[in-house]
Structures are given as structure tokens and as C-alpha cells.
């Protein structure tokens, strides 16, 4: 391909658009079948054109390559967007997963899946992005599974001084019926 080919521009923009991590120039060169020097020229031109056209994003050089990022000038709108965005309420699945992590930490995905009967992948990602759950280590056993635990932000949010302040489950394991009675307000509070 050649730098003059509009397909190159479209392709490279699409790649930068979907890539979740910075893309290195040699990698782009390989996919686009262009010399690395041409790719670097292309990136400079692209970055300049974005700035000239007043686009909502910029092309940045980051560690290891190029990536798109939202334009800093748009930050006030983004802030309003994220704060007014229909509050993605905690789903039941997320709350249950959080409970498993809180009471069984450090815990692996597989262990969460076993307790809840379903894979926690996407839910766990949300909890991690929102800073309530974090990776806390690796299982020393085979597979070296990532282990998860709750964060300081989680404790602050629930008003806990330490994890020891979590109301105990062990020793008193209520039946489902008891929990339901409590939820309907007939049972004793904590």
C-alpha cells in the first residue's frame, strides 16, 4: 500500500480506534505493509489533521506506541456526561459477587464461580474499574490464578474500619427463609 491510498488512512484509524492498548509503529507497519518510516509520517499527519479538524480525540504517543485519547478540551463535557450518565446501579449479580469477594478474600474467579454458580468475568471487571475490588495476589498453586480482595474504598464506603468489622456469617448461617423474613422486616436487625 501507499501513503496516498485512502484505504491506509481508514485502516489505521480503525486500528487505533478499537485498540485497547498503544499500538507500536512496527506492528502498524506489518499490518499495513508499509515501511516503519512511512508509518511514523502517517501518524504525524494524522495527529495534525485531528488537531486542525477540531476532533473530539487526539493521537498520542504513549509508552510502546500510538493511541487515541479524548481531547482534553472536551473534559468538562465528559465530566458532566459521566456524572449524569444514568447511574449504572449496582446489579444483583455485582452485589453478590462483591459479597463473595468480601467474605472469602483472597479469592479466585474459579472460586467465585463455584459459589455463585456462574462465571463472574464481566461483573468482576466492573467492580475492579470502580475501585471496589482489586487484584491482591496470585494463587501459589498450579495455574497461578489471580486472587481478588476488596479495597480501602470499599471499606470506607460501607463505613468499616477493618474487614473484621464485616458482620460475621460463619457460626450463624441463616437459612434462605430466615433471610427472607429479615428482608421483609420481621426479623431482628443486625
Amino acid at each position: 500500500m501507499s501513503l496516498l491510498d485512502p484505504e491506509v488512512w481508514q485502516a489505521v484509524e480503525a486500528i487505533l480506534f478499537v485498540a485497547e492498548e498503544p499500538v507500536a509503529a512496527p506492528e502498524l507497519a506489518l499490518v499495513l505493509e508499509l515501511p516503519v518510516a512511512d508509518v511514523e509520517t502517517l501518524m504525524e499527519e494524522l495527529a495534525r489533521s485531528y488537531e486542525e479538524q477540531g476532533r473530539g480525540f487526539v493521537l498520542r504517543r504513549a509508552a510502546g506506541g500510538y493511541r487515541l485519547a479524548s481531547h482534553p478540551d472536551a473534559a468538562p463535557y465528559l465530566e458532566r456526561f459521566v456524572s449524569e450518565h444514568k447511574a449504572p446501579r449496582m446489579t444483583q449479580a455485582a452485589l453478590e459477587t462483591l459479597a463473595v469477594v468480601a467474605y472469602r478474600q483472597p479469592v479466585s474467579r474459579a472460586q467465585i464461580a463455584e459459589i455463585r454458580g456462574v462465571s463472574p468475568d464481566s461483573v468482576l471487571r466492573t467492580l475492579v474499574t470502580r475501585g471496589l475490588v482489586a487484584e491482591v495476589g496470585r494463587d501459589p498453586g498450579p495455574g497461578n490464578a489471580i486472587l481478588y480482595g476488596t479495597t480501602v474504598a470499599f471499606m470506607e464506603r460501607l463505613g468499616l474500619m477493618s474487614l473484621a468489622d464485616l458482620p460475621p456469617l460463619a457460626g450463624f448461617m441463616p437459612t434462605t427463609a430466615e433471610v427472607e423474613r429479615m428482608e421483609s422486616g420481621l426479623g431482628p436487625g443486625i
Partner: protein, 255 residues
């Protein structure tokens, strides 16, 4: 009649049955529960599986088909409550088949829509790090008490769901027991008909058990079975087991 059936265990027994009943046959009159059942059993036999759940779902349906087929072998009265129950069973199966066919057709349409919308990729998205604090509180309205209740519920032992056994008819004699009874009788009589083996007074459930027992003996190569055509009587001949041909579990052969 033979034709290739495309099948994997994940497509399920209803898919197999649907393929069999929807298959174009030269002679429509030839489409009977007998041929369908035989085709079904042959396909199940060829099914290469170590998936017990998958395999058992095929066997449950095979048992239903066998039950429907076995009725064909016997005289019956319309008013017979067991015949009525089987007719209901057949209607239920037909209903499931129609429902399954509907969803199968819908899935083909979905597949086309998916293909037509191929090639669009979206960003994972996500706001820049510095804007994260502006994100709304995910735990809004969640008190420690509510959190504890959710945890208690998650860790509470699950109520075991009862296994649905409604499709299993009550049987007075197990098939295993009936295998021994029939083997004993056949050793004595050497050659007889299935109708004689059942006797006049046998209930429909007994007939089904005897039929399954006969199939088991056939599988163990203890009997030769002959049926000139669908709906004809079945003749049964006891075979002298070849020397050394006995396998463990075979009925004992008198010396």
C-alpha cells in the same frame, strides 16, 4: 432406510427427532413411529459422547419413542386410560417439537442478521483515568445491613431442585428383573411370540417392561427376534450361546 444425520450432542434429542420427522421420505405412508424410533436409536448409538447429561437427554426421549412404538405392537382399546395417557404424551412431544422448530427457525434468522452486521467493532470505551472520580457511586443506597443480607443469601445452602420424574411411568417389575424372568421362560420354550410372552392379562406397563427386557436380551445376543414388517407379530427364538461367548452379566445358561 438409512440416511446420514448431522448431529452433535449439543444439538440435542429434539433436534435429532425434528430432522427425522422432517426428512422427505419417498412414501409418506412409510413414515411411522416405528421407522422414526429405529432411526433415532441408530443415531443415538452412533453418537460419540462422554457427556452424560447430553446422553441421558437422548435416552429419555428414546424411551418415550419406544413407549409410543410399543403400543403399536399391541391391540388396544380407545377407552384404555393408558392409551389416553400415551396420546397425551405424544401430543406433549409434538408440542415441544413445534416449539423447538420455531426457535430453530428464529435462530437461523438471527444468524443472518448477525452476518449482515458483521465487521463493526466498538471501543472498550472508558473515561480517562483523571475523570474516574466523577463516576457515580456504585454502592449508592447499599447499607452494611443490606450488604450482609445479600452475603447471607449467597452463602446459604441452595434448596435442591427436585428432579422431574413425571415422564417415568410406575413399573411394578424392573427391566433387570424381567430380563431374568424372560430368559428363564425362553430357555424352556425355545421359540415363541412376543404376544405369548406378555400373556393376556399384562398391563401396558408390563408390556413395555417386557419389550425393553427383550431388547436387552437381543443386545446380549441371547435371542433372535423377527418381525416381518411394521405392526406384524414378533417371533422370539432362544439362541444357544456360543461357547465362550458368555460375557459377565449375561443370564446364566443351564448346562
Amino acid at each position: 432406510m438409512s440416511f446420514a444425520v448431522h448431529l452433535s450432542v449439543f444439538e440435542g434429542p429434539l433436534d435429532l427427532l425434528l430432522q427425522l420427522v422432517s426428512k422427505d421420505r419417498v412414501d409418506v405412508a412409510d413414515v411411522t413411529i416405528a421407522t422414526i424410533t429405529e432411526d433415532f436409536l441408530r443415531a443415538v448409538d452412533a453418537l460419540d459422547t462422554i457427556d452424560l447429561d447430553g446422553a441421558s437427554s437422548f435416552l429419555v426421549l428414546a424411551a418415550t419413542l419406544l413407549e409410543l412404538k410399543s403400543v403399536k405392537l399391541l391391540p388396544h382399546e380407545e377407552a384404555d386410560p393408558e392409551t389416553a395417557a400415551l396420546l397425551e404424551e405424544r401430543d406433549r412431544l409434538l408440542q415441544r417439537l413445534v416449539e423447538y422448530a420455531t426457535f430453530k427457525a428464529a435462530s437461523e434468522a438471527l444468524s443472518q442478521v448477525l452476518d449482515a452486521n458483521e465487521g463493526y467493532f466498538t471501543r472498550a470505551g472508558g473515561v480517562p483515568e483523571e475523570l474516574r472520580p466523577a463516576l457515580p457511586d456504585l454502592l449508592e443506597g447499599v447499607t452494611l445491613e443490606r450488604f450482609w443480607k445479600v452475603a447471607a443469601k449467597v452463602f446459604a445452602p441452595r434448596v435442591a431442585q427436585p428432579v422431574d420424574t413425571s415422564f417415568i411411568a410406575p413399573m411394578r417389575v424392573s427391566v433387570a428383573e424381567m430380563v431374568e424372568v424372560l430368559a428363564e421362560e425362553l430357555r424352556r420354550r425355545r421359540f415363541t411370540s412376543f404376544r405369548d410372552l406378555c400373556g393376556e392379562s399384562a398391563s401396558r406397563a408390563d408390556v413395555v417392561v417386557r419389550f425393553l427386557a427383550l431388547l436387552e436380551l437381543f443386545r446380549q445376543q441371547c435371542v433372535q427376534v423377527e418381525q416381518p414388517g411394521p405392526f406384524d407379530g414378533i417371533t422370539v427364538r432362544w439362541r444357544q450361546p456360543r461357547l465362550g461367548a458368555e460375557r459377565r452379566g449375561d443370564p446364566e445358561e443351564p448346562r
